[in-house]
């Protein structure tokens, strides 16, 4: 065996996108080496450890991970150095997977109650199956199949195929739940780029990155991938990349930017349009693209967005000269890249904003180019083609949830809409009025609490799976999830196997459609993927022998083919909407409420893990709580000090939370993290903080039906109460002394700043 893993990485550094082929595919030598206890020093007793590659399911990014297993127990999660999405790196969220696995409040087997006022009692899996099948049979016999509703998180891989086969085969409905749904983003990317999959944003090779509201280093789309790229963007190349963040909130990404533009909420698109105006007017962009965007009319079509117009300056709060400079720097840079999302897509005019922002990429013609927007190809296995921009993988929007027709039987997996949807969606009533609710949750969360039957799922470290990463790295990747430890609780199930079992019992065509034989299950489907990849004889692992191939794929956590990039198709006409958008808000309060996803807890799906509760927020260092970020000058005016409990009131409701006095938040903004306020989700999540989502009013992005979660106006008042806010700041006495700054600053390395275009 001549190729070591390290050599592989070296090679991947040399080739453009990490291309390497493991010819013959035997096992790298050192992967088989295990510590010999014979060589231990006498005073040290050490178990033998093994590392297994699999996929992280803690967050939608689904990084490749390797897990250290000692004596049948998972000890430590690291990033998989081979996996194209995260290349050996991982986030706080991935790290805590082992705490989800060994969580003391995990459900250990099926539980059921006869009536919703009763306590749950343990039942056997067989009884649980009978209950589910009886309920589905009743619907079937009454011809009310469409009143069965399957709710999952957005699924990928074979699980998506099974869920879709099951629900369509039965005649039921399937909805995918995403808290603070990114439907507006997906639809906009589909419109502007004509692509059906999320593209890769090549931050690593970009020289000028402008992000509108997307907290891409913390929570947006693919944060571990972005962070890895960002390190290289900063110090990996001869020229340090410039990052401008246009953000109504001082987010983690804004904190890292070279320049932060505290734009007025909702006006991100106006700023982007104004940049487009400047670029076209000054003849800097791609001429054909400019014609395409303006219908051949040039900058005159965009006159209302002139950077010097009173309307633009008033709406954005940014002066004309600054807009002009940023537009010039962007268009003149070698590899400009514009991304947008988060709050930019979550106002009443969110789709307008996102279309304008992504059109900047069209204008500078960075599509499918290094440092630009790189499109992703369809996966190599057709059944896994579950495109999430225009097709089956698209999550349901807030509007869909609001307009849901009353189901009779509800099956819920991996989603907690009771916590994640604002009460205006009325989803709680929908569940209360359902005859029978089956939850597959591993924990008793707010949605599981409404269920009649809970069949807890196994942890992802205990089970099989596959994944088509979203967004991909610009080429085909299939991630393979394998069990790295045995089941900790024997009563837990694989959700895929459950749906396969129901389908067989109900006589659905799932087996035939997915090519399953009798007696085989979800594991065999994953094996089927591996076999199909083998037959292609291309990509990162190749072998004439299937077993060796299978071994190679499992050892590396998946298969990828760097030669499989997406072809750029003829761009359809991308005419810009040149009418002035209606930036409107709900509520009459003085402040714009800008909620944000927690860096460690996500949308709250990880709030049950103590490491993540205790991971300080990067900017405020607050732990184990929800806080209200208020501008320091404003707080002084209002006589508010750190830890004062404030009431935050919106038309949808009110919450109480402690104030964090923040020098970065604009005076017109109140910012609060999302993720806490669980009334039920295990001992570490319950009664910690408040649920910011309950402040969100019924307002949608007009273009997509997404929840406009950044379009609320709130008022604040003091309750007169005060707490010592729990934060890391102050745990360690500051050791900085006047004469010695802890953080030292240097100017950029001198090199030729002149750029060519």
């Amino acid at each position: 065996m001549g190729i070591t893993r390290r050599q592989f990485l070296k090679w991947s550094g040399v080739s453009a996108m990490g291309a390497v082929v493991f010819n013959g595919c035997t096992t790298p030598e050192q992967e088989l080496q295990v510590e010999s206890p014979v060589n231990m020093p006498e005073d040290l007793v050490n178990g033998i450890d093994n590392w297994y590659a699999t996929i992280c399911r803690q967050e939608p990014e689904a990084c490749g991970i390797i897990v250290r297993v000692v004596e049948g127990r998972a000890k430590k999660i690291e990033g998989n150095p081979d996996y194209p999405i995260n290349r050996g790196k991982h986030s706080v969220r991935s790290e805590a997977g082992v705490q989800a696995l060994y969580h003391p409040d995990r459900l250990s087997g099926p539980i059921y109650r006869d009536s919703r006022n009763d306590e749950f009692r343990e039942i056997s899996l067989e009884e649980a199956h009978n209950l589910v099948l009886n309920k589905l049979n009743v619907l079937n016999s009454e011809g009310q199949n469409d009143r069965a509703l399957l709710i999952t998180q957005p699924l990928r891989g074979h699980l998506a195929a099974i869920a879709s086969e099951f629900s369509s085969g039965f005649g039921g409905r399937h909805m995918a739940f995403e808290a603070l749904d990114k439907v507006a983003l997906r639809k906009s990317l589909g419109r502007v780029f004509g692509q059906s999959r999320l593209p890769k944003f090549d931050i690593e090779h970009s020289t000028y990155l402008i992000s509108f509201g997307a907290d891409f280093l913390s929570s947006w789309v693919s944060p571990t991938n972005h962070s890895r790229a960002y390190g290289e963007f900063r110090q990996g190349h001869a020229q340090r990349g410039v990052h401008v963040q246009v953000d109504p909130r001082f987010s983690m990404s804004a904190a890292n930017a070279d320049e932060w533009l505290p734009v007025k909420p909702g006006s991100e698109g106006i700023l982007a349009m104004s940049m487009i105006y400047v670029i076209i007017k000054d003849g800097l962009g791609d001429v054909a693209a400019a014609d395409n965007l303006t219908g051949g009319q040039g900058h005159q079509a965009l006159e209302i967005f002139s950077n010097n117009s009173a309307g633009v300056i008033e709406a954005t709060g940014i002066d004309g000269a600054r807009i002009e400079k940023i537009a010039h720097d962007f268009a003149n840079s070698h590899h400009p890249l514009a991304i947008g999302g988060g709050s930019a897509g979550a106002s009443a005019n969110g789709s307008f904003n996102l279309d304008a922002i992504y059109s900047l990429n069209v204008l500078v013609n960075n599509l499918n180019k290094e440092g630009g927007v790189i499109f992703n190809p369809s996966p190599p296995i057709s059944v896994l083609d579950n495109d999430s921009v225009s097709g089956a993988g698209m999550p349901s929007s807030y509007q869909d949830w609001k307009n849901i027709s009353q189901p009779r039987v509800v099956m819920i997996r991996g989603a907690n809409p009771i916590h994640g949807l604002p009460s205006s969606a009325g989803f709680s009533n929908i569940l209360d009025n359902s005859e029978f609710i089956i939850s597959y949750s591993s924990f008793m969360d707010e949605t599981a609490e409404k269920a009649d039957l809970i069949i807890p799922e196994s942890n992802y470290l205990e089970d099989w799976g596959d994944d088509v990463p979203e967004p991909g790295p610009g080429y085909q990747v299939i991630g393979i999830q394998q069990p790295v430890v045995g089941r900790f609780h024997q009563g837990t199930v694989n959700f895929g196997d459950e749906l396969i079992y129901y389908s067989r019992f109900l006589g659905l065509a799932l087996d035939a459609n997915l090519g399953l034989t009798e007696g085989s299950g979800f594991k065999e489907l994953v094996e089927g993927s591996i076999r199909e990849l083998w037959s292609k004889n291309s990509g990162s692992v190749r072998s004439s022998d299937f077993d060796a191939f299978r071994q190679g794929v499992l050892q590396r956590g998946g298969w990828w083919d760097v030669e499989s990039g997406a072809k750029i198709e003829e761009m359809s006409s991308n005419l810009l909407d040149t009418s002035w958008p209606d930036v409107s808000f709900v509520g009459t309060g003085e402040y714009n409420l800008i909620p944000f996803l927690s860096n460690s807890l996500g949308d709250g799906n990880l709030a049950h893990l103590p490491w993540l509760q205790a991971a300080p927020d990067p900017l405020t260092s607050v732990v184990w709580n929800t806080w209200v970020e208020i501008n320091s000058k404003k707080a002084e005016e209002l006589d508010i000090i750190q830890g004062d409990i404030l009431t935050v009131e919106s038309p949808a409701g009110s919450l109480e939370a402690p104030a964090y006095i923040h020098p970065g938040v604009p005076p017109w903004v109140i910012s609060m993290p999302i993720g806490q306020g669980h009334v039920s989700f295990g001992r570490y999540a319950e009664n910690v903080g408040v649920n910011t989502i309950s402040l969100l009013s019924e307002v949608e992005d007009k273009g997509s039906g997404s929840l406009a979660w950044a379009a609320n106006k709130v008022s604040i008042s003091k309750t007169g109460r005060h707490i010592d806010i729990s934060k890391f700041e102050g745990n360690v006495p500051a050791f900085e002394v006047d004469e010695q700054r802890i953080i030292k600053i240097a100017p950029p390395e001198s090199h030729d700043h002149k750029e060519h275009h």
Partner: protein, 255 residues
Amino acid sequence: MATETINHKWGMVIDIDRCTGCQACVVACQAENNIPLNTEDRFRQRRAIEWIRVERYWEGEFPNIKARFIPILCQHCENAPCEPVCPVYATYHNNQGMNVQVYNRCVGTRYCANNCSYQVRFFNFWEPVWPESLKNQLNPDVTVRSRGIMEKCTFNIQRLRKAERVIEGQRGERITDENLKEGNFLPACVQACPTDTLIFGDWNDPSSKISNLKEKHFVDGGRGYKLLGDLGTQPNVIYLKKVDINAEHKVDAHA
């Protein structure tokens, strides 16, 4: 095991221009080193334990505000103020450049923590407690520290010892950046760090990345500096300055 002893001097370079403040290092350290759960109470009492932490400094105010991040861990000083004050020799400097805490010698005087200029030593005010099932995750290679014991960053010595046994003992090779990475022997914080802010290696290996970075950046105009360098503690951890595109306008007198 009769193997030739190779002298290492472990150290780290921290490029704060790459750090985004994401906390991946902080949680990775806690997962690897059996650090007691930092409950809400512990933060309120100012007794949370983080062997590595990310400090955030504000600069200016809205709208001209900057937040700067810096990861801080034990600097493994060559001339460590914490060492001479320990009455029982529980804290000492080993022959690989590391400042080491011997748990079963420690009697909890906390003199070392008082004398540390960097505030990176943490005292166990309580016996650590985990729910029974979470104990399955504990790392068998790392001692759980009991009440009354001082603890601190070890550069994950358990991983380095294993690297010595595997790479030098079994294979007879010298430890390099490459084989440390390949065998998952790097400190957990370094391995996790998504942006490669933390770079670990051997100062005695002239081809190591940290040696090269030191050579490149400890010259005029380079970005290298030591935390509280004037104290003369001679840290084995060095920092590379944050780059600010406006830096020429505000000259740092101490740069």
